[in-house]
Each structure stands twice: as structure tokens, then as C-alpha cells.
């Protein structure tokens, strides 16, 4: 992550340096206060304390439906010696207590007679009377300054006679996308062009924290143009976000532009991802803070969380929003670079009464790692990483109740699992099926280690020619069940029209055929090895045998990009990339689980789904699948 141009400032120091630079440049400490009607104030932050202008209730009132009486008139009343009260008034809950009365008797306890109201119990003074000011006393402090208003706060303000509130206006965030190759979202892209997804995301993040977000036109990689855009933005903004392309070259433009327009307080923080951030100010009156956002999408999203969100809360004079957290058991070893705060995205699930955290891919460009994340785990700069099984604190991106209802599948990937995930959620929004792709063998090991509920497997045992079951016996012993998900076709994925005319596995040894393989432990690789063995072919004779991809779709992508001529995979992957498909084998794809979990209520919706003819029909429509045994327990 090092570059000659930027430094590694620890996050806390970066915050402090930016704060100092903003103060020195004269950036406003708070946005202005405005007065708004209470009904429009929810979500805004109080700019002054709110004192009650009147009491609530504003008068002594009845707390029940019944009759208002004088307590003194009821003295001595009992079951055996009822008292008949002649002087009373009928009241409903909330009615003012009529003058001269000091207590209320519930309707149910009154027996009306021609002589008056017959009571069987004496009542003390002020029974069922809501005193003036019981809820709010005039002149009482209702809300302090710096309080973000919730529905109950505005209702209480209105009840206290306050109809307008002084609040901070929404901070204005102006977002400037830059980069010659960046195109607006929705444009048909030419090769080499990139959609401006960061602006859409940052604007949404700013709106989510209550700001007014504005996105400018995309600015070319030209320092003069960027400087001009920054100047215009700073005049209307409370915070300018200047998005670099993903290029470090362009980060340097950002730093240069900011240095010319004002001051660079920090260029480069010891945070991964997010390292090449620029924190500075634009000096022109009124001075404005500016944040140079790295172009990689995960860096952009986290940079907003780490640097923009706290500043925007400060401009409103409020505490920053806070994510809840939980302790979780780390599913695998997590190495980390010393000297950098490492923000790791994790999936979470409750397996055998432990919340288990499985780290997701860590690249700054892998936005899906944030999409699929249930939590964030920060490995601080001073820590080298964590061992598997360590209990770590995780900031939650999803609620724990949802996480508790999540079926965790680790193992081989199949599109049928995706289809099932979506169908389960559609039937019950509380059910999530989260699958991580580590290959069949990795899944069985994860199941053994208590890290998942289900392992998807299609692992061929070369010794027996049998799928999955021999491995299950070896790794999990007797205490495991196996449910058939599907049968599916495996075959050679080839460019459209099959230009090399490949017909079967034998052709892989042909000179000039570039193969792309799956990783060790993948069922598809085991299938290849089995087929090579049957034919007496030496893996070393297959060009590209050592080149590994981790999913069917990645193999298809490599072929579509022309980096390879063929690879073994499923029909659905070929279709996704417009490739042709040469069938080689049909194989069973199974779900492995602990035997006791077969009847776990968490999994019941999945078994119901597998029995549903509509779902089976949709699976077979994908092509290359057979559902003849779907849902059968085969062990």
C-alpha cells in the first residue's frame, strides 16, 4: 500500500489534524440554525434547549371514565355499608376535573340509583386524577441542545406548547466525480469505461445520515477543471467529496488540487481499505472542508463512514450515529498488516449457539464484500491478526435477530443455492440463506469445525467413483446427514461456436489448448482429476492446469475474456457468459449437515422449498439440472 507520495497517518491523528486544519482555515463549527414547525423537525438536531412553554396535562383531568366526586363525601363507604353520593358529575377520561371535585370513581364501581351514585368503597383524594404537569411541567427542560429529534420528541414538544423548533439545517454535501473513463450510471459502457457508481453510493450515504446530497457532472482528469469544480462546489457545500478515479495518479491530482485551493491536512491514512484518502480545506470564504475519496468502491464507502459521517454529525452538533456490535467467533485465521487499521467485512451466523464470523474477500475493489457483509471487524494497527476461533467484537450491519435466522452454507457454489436463497426470502422476509464459496472439501471441513449449517458438496472419490459420501464418513463420521439437492451436467465451457472443436477431456492434452482449472478441494477439480486418471493422462501435460479460479463463473469469465480456451464447469455458467458447452458428466450435488440439524426449525423452510414443484420447475428451467431426487435424504 506504500507509495512515495502519501503517508500512513493513524486514523486518530488524521481526525485531529483535519480538525485543526478546519479550525485554522475558519471552517464553520456548526451549520446554521433554522426554525421549523415541530412536524417537520424529526431527524434534525436541536440548535437550542427546548423548555416547556406549558404543562401537560394543562389542567387536572380525569384519568378514567366515571364520576367526579368529593373524596370527603365517600368516607365510610364499604361493601356492607354503601354510601350514596348525590353531588357528582359524569366524566370521561381526559375531561377536566370539574371545579369543586377532587377524585374520580371508575364507571364500573358506580351503581346508579334514583337517590344518586351508590359506592361500595371510600376513595382517597386525587384518586384517578391526572394532575396538571404530571407529564410535563411548564419551564422544565424537555430536550437539550444537540439532540436528534425523534417522533416522541416532537410530540412532547407540541404537548409542551412548543410549535416551532430551532434546529440545525441539513448539511449540504457536494460530490464531485472525476476521471476520463468514468461514465454516468445508465450509460452503455465501451471497453475500459467504468460506471460512476461511487457518486450514487456516496450521495445515498450522505442522505442516510440526514444530509442534502448533490452530485456534480463528471469532471475529466484535468487539474484545472477539477480546481474549478472544487471552487464552485465549496461555495454551496458544507463538505466537498472529491472522488478520484481508482488511479493513484489521480489521487495525486486530488492532493494537488486541494493544496492549491487550500490546505492538505492529511494525505494517506493507516487504514485499509481507504489508505489514499485526502483530508483538507478549501480556503475561499467561507472556508469548507474537503475530503478526497479514493476511487475503489469499498475504500469510498468506508472513507465516508470513517471520516465524512463524524464530521457531518459534528456540523449538526450531534453525536454520530452508532452501530450496535456483538462478540463473534472467528471462523478462520485472519492475518493483518501491522501499522494499518484493517476493516474486514464478515458474514455472521449462529451455529451451535455461537455467533460465527467468516471473513469476506478483502480487496478494496470488491464491493460485494460490503453487500454480503453482516458486520465489520476492525483489526487495529498494532495487531498482527487473529487466530481462528478468537472471540472478536464485530460492528453489526444487520440485526442479530435476522442473523439468528440465517442458514449458513459454506462449500461448493451452485446457482440453485442462489435461487433457493431468493425464494426463501420471498416466502418469509426473516429467512436468509447465506452461502460462501470455498469448494466442496472446504465446506465439509467448515461443517466439521462448527462454522456452518450446510456444506454444498459434489466431491468425487477417485478410489470408489462415489460422490461425497466417502468424504463425509472420513471427516464427519456417523453423525452427518446428506440431502440431495440436484443432479447437474458438468462440461467443457468453450468460446461461442467452439472454435477449437473440443469434444471431450482427451482434447485438453492437445497442443495449444489453454485450460483454466478450479482450486484444490473443488469438486469440479476432483472430477477433472478422476477423468484424467481414467484416461491415463498426466495433469502436467495439460497447459493451464496450474491456473486456478474459485468459481464456475470465474472460469467462464476467463474463457469469455480470452485468457483461456476451456475449463470444466456447469451449463449455467456457460450461459451466463454466452459460451458454448460440451457435456462431460452428470453429477449429484448434495447438502451435508449434522444429523441432529435435519429437524432444526431453522432449516424447515428449506426442506419445504425443495419439496415445492414450482421451485423444482424453476431449477430445471435453468438448464443442465435434474430434480428427480431433490430433497431426498440419502444418508
Amino acid at each position: 500500500m506504500n507509495s512515495p507520495f502519501i503517508s500512513d497517518v493513524p486514523a486518530a491523528e488524521a481526525h485531529a489534524a483535519w480538525r485543526e486544519a478546519r479550525a485554522a482555515a475558519g471552517c464553520p463549527a456548526r451549520v446554521e440554525a433554522v426554525r421549523v414547525p415541530v412536524g417537520a423537525a424529526v431527524g434534525r438536531v436541536t440548535a437550542e434547549p427546548v423548555w416547556a412553554r406549558r404543562s401537560s396535562p394543562a389542567f387536572d383531568s380525569s384519568g378514567m371514565d366515571g364520576i367526579a366526586v368529593r373524596a370527603a363525601d365517600t368516607v365510610g363507604a364499604s361493601e356492607t355499608a354503601p354510601v350514596v353520593v348525590k353531588d357528582f358529575e359524569v366524566v370521561d377520561t381526559g375531561d377536566p376535573l370539574p371545579p369543586g371535585y377532587d377524585a374520580v370513581v371508575m364507571r364500573e364501581h358506580v351503581h346508579h340509583t334514583p337517590e344518586g351514585a351508590e359506592l361500595h368503597t371510600a376513595v382517597p383524594p386525587y384518586q384517578h386524577v391526572r394532575s396538571i404537569g404530571e407529564d410535563i411541567s411548564a419551564a422544565e427542560l424537555l430536550l437539550p441542545e444537540g439532540h436528534r429529534l425523534r417522533p416522541v420528541d416532537v410530540a412532547a414538544s407540541a404537548a409542551a406548547g412548543v410549535t416551532e423548533l430551532a434546529v440545525r439545517r441539513a448539511p449540504i454535501v457536494v460530490i464531485i466525480p472525476t476521471g476520463d473513463e468514468i461514465r454516468p450510471v445508465g450509460t452503455e459502457l465501451e471497453p475500459g469505461e467504468i460506471a460512476d457508481t461511487n457518486s450514487v453510493m456516496l450521495a445515498a450515504q450522505a442522505r442516510e445520515v440526514g444530509c442534502d446530497a448533490r452530485v456534480t457532472a463528471i469532471v475529466a482528469d484535468d487539474p484545472a477543471a477539477i480546481t474549478a469544480a472544487v471552487g464552485t462546489a465549496a461555495r454551496e457545500a458544507d463538505l466537498v467529496l472529491l472522488i478520484a478515479g481508482s488511479s493513484a495518479g489521480r489521487d495525486d491530482y486530488t492532493a494537488r488540487v486541494v493544496a492549491e485551493a487550500g490546505t492538505v491536512a492529511v494525505h494517506g491514512v493507516a487504514v485499509r481499505p481507504g489508505h489514499p484518502v485526502v483530508l483538507g480545506t478549501v480556503t475561499e470564504e467561507p472556508a469548507t472542508p474537503i475530503l478526497g475519496v479514493p476511487g475503489y468502491p469499498v475504500s469510498a464507502a468506508l472513507t465516508f463512514d470513517i471520516f465524512a459521517a463524524p464530521l457531518l454529525a459534528e456540523l449538526e452538533g450531534a453525536a454520530p450515529r452508532e452501530r450496535p456490535s456483538t462478540m463473534a467467533r472467528l471462523a478462520r485465521k485472519l492475518p493483518s498488516v501491522v501499522g494499518m487499521d484493517d476493516w474486514v467485512r464478515v458474514r455472521l451466523g449462529r451455529v451451535q449457539d455461537h455467533v460465527v464470523a467468516t471473513p469476506l474477500p478483502r480487496g478494496a475493489g470488491v464491493l460485494t464484500s460490503l453487500v454480503r457483509a453482516d458486520g465489520l471487524l476492525v483489526v487495529p494497527a498494532g495487531v498482527e491478526g487473529h487466530h481462528a476461533g478468537t472471540e472478536v467484537r464485530v460492528e453489526l450491519l444487520r440485526g442479530l435477530a435476522e442473523i439468528d435466522r440465517t442458514i449458513v452454507a459454506i462449500g461448493s457454489h451452485d446457482l440453485v443455492l442462489d435461487l433457493a436463497a431468493s425464494a426463501l426470502r420471498a416466502a418469509d422476509p426473516l429467512v436468509t440463506l447465506a452461502s460462501s464459496n470455498v469448494g466442496s472439501l472446504g465446506g465439509l471441513v467448515a461443517l466439521r469445525d462448527g462454522l456452518c449449517h450446510l456444506a454444498g458438496s459434489h466431491l468425487l472419490d477417485p478410489a470408489t467413483g462415489e460422490y461425497t459420501l466417502p468424504y463425509v464418513q472420513r471427516l464427519l463420521g456417523d453423525d452427518a446427514a446428506v440431502i440431495r439437492l440436484v443432479h447437474r451436467d458438468q462440461g467443457l465451457l468453450v468460446a461461442p461456436g467452439n472454435p477449437l472443436g473440443l469434444k471431450d477431456i482427451d482434447d485438453l492434452a492437445r497442443p495449444g489448448v489453454r485450460y483454466v482449472n478450479r482450486q484444490r478441494g473443488a469438486g469440479t477439480r476432483a472430477l477433472l482429476d478422476h477423468e484424467l486418471g481414467r484416461r491415463g493422462l498426466d495433469p502436467a501435460a495439460i497447459p493451464g492446469y496450474a491456473r486456478e479460479e474459485h468459481t464456475h463463473l470465474a472460469v467462464a469469465a476467463a474463457i469469455a475474456a480470452g485468457r483461456a480456451d476451456t475449463g470444466l464447469g456447469i451449463l449455467a455458467a456457460a450461459r451466463a457468459f454466452g459460451l458454448d458447452f460440451v457435456p462431460v458428466a452428470q453429477e449429484p450435488y448434495d447438502l451435508v449437515l449434522r444429523a441432529e440439524d435435519v429437524s432444526h426449525e431453522l432449516l424447515a423452510p428449506l426442506w419445504t422449498l425443495l419439496a415445492d414443484p414450482g421451485f423444482r420447475a424453476r431449477v430445471e428451467e435453468l438448464g443442465g439440472y435434474s430434480c428427480a431426487q431433490t430433497g431426498e435424504r440419502i444418508r
Copy 2:
């Protein structure tokens, strides 16, 4: 809580009965799907799965700034035997990998010579190359149906070539306020009238969960008019909220109106507050669910949370939003009615490493109990209550980090604490000063029991004539510090013009003078007792001595309402209610704390504030206060 007209249906049964009634009436299970541009989809729920339309990156690209090379050309390069590569291309991060090259060397590792690029390390194929589909593979499931879209989700969708998303439209909630005495917020109220704060609150609650909320005009207490309003509302709404006044009589209108317009599934739930809720449907096509909301504001707010919010999430096909929770130690005994789920509002603070929960007033009319609440604690129907010190699960209404920074003050109430609370928050939005009013003695006991950081006290020891210190020694021993907050005037609060011509404590024994007292343990009551003792007056001779209020402001309110002629209190309370004030004594008001806490960083901002001349000036402007010793440690 019983009434002849309504029942006590347990909450889970009530949910089930309502669901069944909605299904039977043909209420739509989901709101319609609409297609919106990705940028406008944040906060909405997917109505169908989102599959990637293209890969991201869409091409093999450079992961670094540097040069693209053929890995084969670098074989054998080392520190001692560098290799000069002639065939290369300069690339920036994100650039497409030029055809024919298969690896990238970082700029920093290249030494450009006239012969070419000199490399000191061999590079493996695909080093620093981001493969096509590294983030997203075409045809991959990006998001399931039923997923509430966050900023990263829409950015990933856009990156996957999806520019429009099918989402559920925002559910429409129509709110009907009813009641002859209800007036729109902002109206000058006549005696007996009540501001329509519930509509403001419920509309804000509905918007907070992503709905389109509409409030109708206030409808009079007339079943025909209410029926007409319900019919109109049901035609546009996905859910109708019909707010009763606070009267049970009016609740019956609700049930009657709903019964006529459709079906009443439930009238009355075993939930406190919230009991008289009505759950039903309006039958006219298309059938619409209707919720009869009780008029008491806490009941209204909680009814929305318990019954409306889950239904609205279901209409969107999403999981309901979920509050984080924590375990906390109960500060005092919490009795509860068996047979009712009891929703108790609590304040939270971290004292001596325990999160402590202090129950707030439990009345359905006390909206400030929700305003001041940091959490909600449900005592289930089957439980009789909890002992003090029990560890209970609390749903959080504020973040734990904020709670950790909260100074918990329990004891006597003084407006200077309110002023300090607001000033502290204004200076640093992360600092909260939360005070609960239980009187001086109650505060010292709470401090002893580890339930607070500070106890506000002005407790006169009749034996010594000394304030607070004798009690501190008795209750807390040597390990306590005392900081002077203020001196303040205590006096007799009297109606404007002092119609009874009261001059001092002696006058309280005059016939016809109705006194209102403070509760046992309150410093003001100790002062009265002391003054009575000095004069040899018998408390039994003071009419109203037994009538207790819990705050200065409540005493003032009682006098303002004409329920009493006088009471002892502070000048600020008299001013708040436009009363006159007859000074009786000047007393010190002190803050008591554990000695080791004097240097606790949590309290540092408070000591800074007490030393601030601007703050002292504002205190003295309140009237009746002297800051001559403010901030001095007197023990």
C-alpha cells in the same frame, strides 16, 4: 385496566388473529412492485431477485499504477541479476490490461533505463491484475427478493449493469385523529382542549419506517362521521390508523365503527400501556387493515411499534427493523401485573462498569418517559416483576457508546442541572447529563448502591443544622466527595398577589391555609420540618402536610391550579408558573460523588463547565441563585 367491553388478548395471539382476519378479508399480502432508477431505490425493498447483468470489473484490469508485462519475460530477475524488459506498457490502476500482457509491476519497483524497464524481481502471471468478474460475475445473484436496499447495494447493482430496480412502493398510512376536544398542533388551546400530538408522532413514526404518511382532518366524536372518514381513508391507504381520544368511551366508537366497516379481530390486548387497541379490517374492496390506536400518547407510540411497524414491513416483504439490545442491572425493584406484557421505559448509564437501568414513570400518559428513555424493558405477562439488581435485557433506544458517556445524576432536582445538561451537550454532543428526581436522600442511597455518578442534595440535618455532610458521612463514610453546585433561595410559593398575605412559616398553621408538601426524603421537606421544629409547630397542625408532590414544579403546578394555597420551593418554580415568592431561607445545593470519581474523565466536562463564568452568569440570571462557591470541593 379491565373494562366490560374489551378483552386481554396476549400479543402473539393478537398478531395471529389480525393476520387471519386480513387474509380472510382479502387484504393484499404485499404492496405493488414499481420500477425505479437505482439512485432512487435506497431504503426500498427488492420485489424480485437482482441478478448481475454484467461482470465487474467488466475486463481484466491493472490493480496498480505501473507497467504491464509478460510474466514469462521476467523469469530469473533478482537483486543481483536484474532483467531489462523492453516490451511493456505503462498502466494506471483500473486501466484495461493491454492485450498480450499478463501481469503488472508496481511503478515503485520499476527502474527505467534507456534499454527498457529494469526489474529486480520476477513476477508471477496475473500479479496485480484484477480479473474480469473479481467483484461481480455476470448472472450471479446479487440481492435476494425482500432485501431493503442500502447505499452499497444500489452501487453494486449499478456496477452489475442494473440501472432500474423492481421495488415495493412505500406503503401508504392514513392517520385519522378523532375527538371533540382535540385541536390541531399550533392552535391556542382553551381549557379542556388537547393538542393533536398523536397524529404528528404517528406520522413521523410511519415516515421513519419508510412509509408515506397522511393525516386527515380531526373528526368529531360522531360514529357516522368516523365511519365516513374510515371509508375514505381505506380507499387510499395500505393501513388506516384511527386514533381514539384518550377516552375509553371513544375506544368503543372505534370498535363499533370498525365492526360496521369490516371486522374487529381483536379489541384489547394484554399489553401495558396499549391495552385498548383495536385490530381489524375494512372490507370494502380492496380490503384494508385498520388499527385503532389508544389516545394516551405512550400507548399510541408503543402500539405503532408493536402492531403497525411489523405489518408495514410485511407489506413491503421485508424483515422488520430491529433494535439492538443489551443486558443491564435493574436499579430498583420492578413490580409488574401478571397477565400483561409490561413495556417499561428505562434510563441507562454505565456506573462502576455495570450498565444500570432505572425505570421511568410508567403511566400511559407520561410521554416524557419515552423522551427520556434510553431503553425499553418488557416484563412478560407470565412474570410478576423483577428484584432490584436483576440482570435484564433492554432494547436500546440510544447507542451504547452514548450511554457510556452519560453522567447519571439521581437525587434532588434543580433547574441548574437542566441548564448544565444542555450546556454540556452543546459543547460536546457526546456528553449527556441525565438526572432522575427522587429527592436528596433517595439520591444518596442510589449513590451508595452504585446506581449513579452524582447525587444532588440539599438535605438539612435537624440535629446539627448542617446541610448534606452529616448524611454523607452516615451513608457513604469517608469515601465520598462533595462539590458545591449553588446556593439557592427557598421560599413559599403563593398565588399572584399573595392573596392570603403569607409572610413566613408561622403562617402555615393559620386556619384555612392549604399547604402542599414534598415527599419524604426530599430536602425541601427536611427544611420545612426543621423550620417547624425551631418554632415548636406540630406538622399535624398544618392542613395539607400529608399531600405530597415529587418536584418543585409539581408543587407550583398544584398552587397554580388552585389545589393548594402554598408550598415550599425555589424561585425558579414560582416564575415558571407565574406565582409569587416569599423567601424563607438560603440553602446550599451540592453534588455528592465517590471520591475516586472526582478525577473520572467522564465528569471532567462538568467541572470545566462549573468554572465557566458565562455559565455562572446564566445560572444567576435564573433568579434566586448564588454561584459564589460553585465548583468548590467542600469535602
